[in-house]
Symmetry: C2
Subunit: 234 residues, 2 copies
Amino acid sequence: MARSHATMSYRDIKQVVLERIQTGIWLPDSLLPSEMELATEFSSTRTTVNRALRELAEEGYLERKRRAGTRVLNSPIRKANFSIPLIHDEIAATGATYRYSLVERSLQTAPSWLSARLSLKKDQDVLYVRCMHYANNAAFQFEVRWIVPEVVPEVIDESFEQSGPNDWLVRKIPFTNLELSFMATKADSEIADFLDAPVGDPIFTAERITWLRGAAVTYAKLYFAPGYRMTTHL
Amino acid sequence: MARSHATMSYRDIKQVVLERIQTGIWLPDSLLPSEMELATEFSSTRTTVNRALRELAEEGYLERKRRAGTRVLNSPIRKANFSIPLIHDEIAATGATYRYSLVERSLQTAPSWLSARLSLKKDQDVLYVRCMHYANNAAFQFEVRWIVPEVVPEVIDESFEQSGPNDWLVRKIPFTNLELSFMATKADSEIADFLDAPVGDPIFTAERITWLRGAAVTYAKLYFAPGYRMTTHL
DNA sequence: TAGTGGTCTAGACCACCCG
DNA sequence: GGGTGGTCTAGACCACTAT
């Protein structure tokens, strides 16, 4: 090895530690040397070693406890780099051309299931928007959304004719909290129509609720065209 | 405000900065004061301010560039805490009882689509495993998996009769890389049988490829029972 | 109670890159 | 060229907890 005499950055240290985990030099459940010892080995300081180990712990490889030391985890729970891209970015990233089209925009009284879901006041008004997103003129996503004007009054003046509510909301609202679900649903006749798919086809669906300091801003249901895959690398 | 005279931890600073973003004091695209200036304001040091801002950038709120400064992002790309739980943990978390059942285990020549997907050598042997996971004796997930014994030779001695391959792999393999996709598929007659669902029903499906230092370890396809939702809070 | 990680300080040098 | 963030150092005090 003889690594001991070159000084190493926290990245180098992360790399070496990770290799030792992945090659089995440090086995799951085993204890690592203390930060002081590692600092000596790597000709570094405890601060630098600390950063390396802290990041590896955040990434799910290590568990750290005061007094108990640093331990290799055996069932890594890892964080996905799960982006919530704007849809036109997602489409542009594939090299396709993005097109947007408004289907419906209307003000209505919140249906009771929505009121319950978003903890709205009784009979509160909500803006109902339906729209389509195309990639190279092929159906990509059908979006159905409710927006609570009481939380974002400016939405009343938005026509959403040229661009979708998501773009607008993301620019407008510094959102504080997000609830995201994915599921498989069956295309009903309307969804099938919009997505150019057979009725009954399995549709990858996302449900998204955005909160602003405890108040629900918007509820969205996103239906993806057949063949859609959500992929993430860890 | 008059916060200026109490010393603050990096957590406090994160909190204050986040509030200023969320209340619109610092608008999207605008530039924050430099680390030095903030350190002065918060009666702290640049090191501490640096950590606060660095973490907020990792969380997707800020964009930082040398010379250019720190800027508020308008379309936050946030990281989901996307756990890859062991399935019995996921089921136990709901309070249900977990049960496992092996369906098939056999050694076969890798089908060509799999060889291509995993970059296997021609006609390499793979272990094929199919199994079921139940929650309170109701079908929860149907798992179809291929494992490459060349990468994990010990797998040959595993019967997988008492517990599933995922448990075993997670304990055995310090995996280096993971490719995860989600999609909606249509239940064929076999999947429908195992999941106790009508043929043609939409099935939430995950596909998972695990790599160990560049070599594919396993390919898995996970079919979830109807009604399954994957949820994440950000 | 002793040893571990968690955090802060004060200072320094460097890499980058806008003007 | 000069100001920004990126990182490292050497040292310190503190919080937690296994023993």
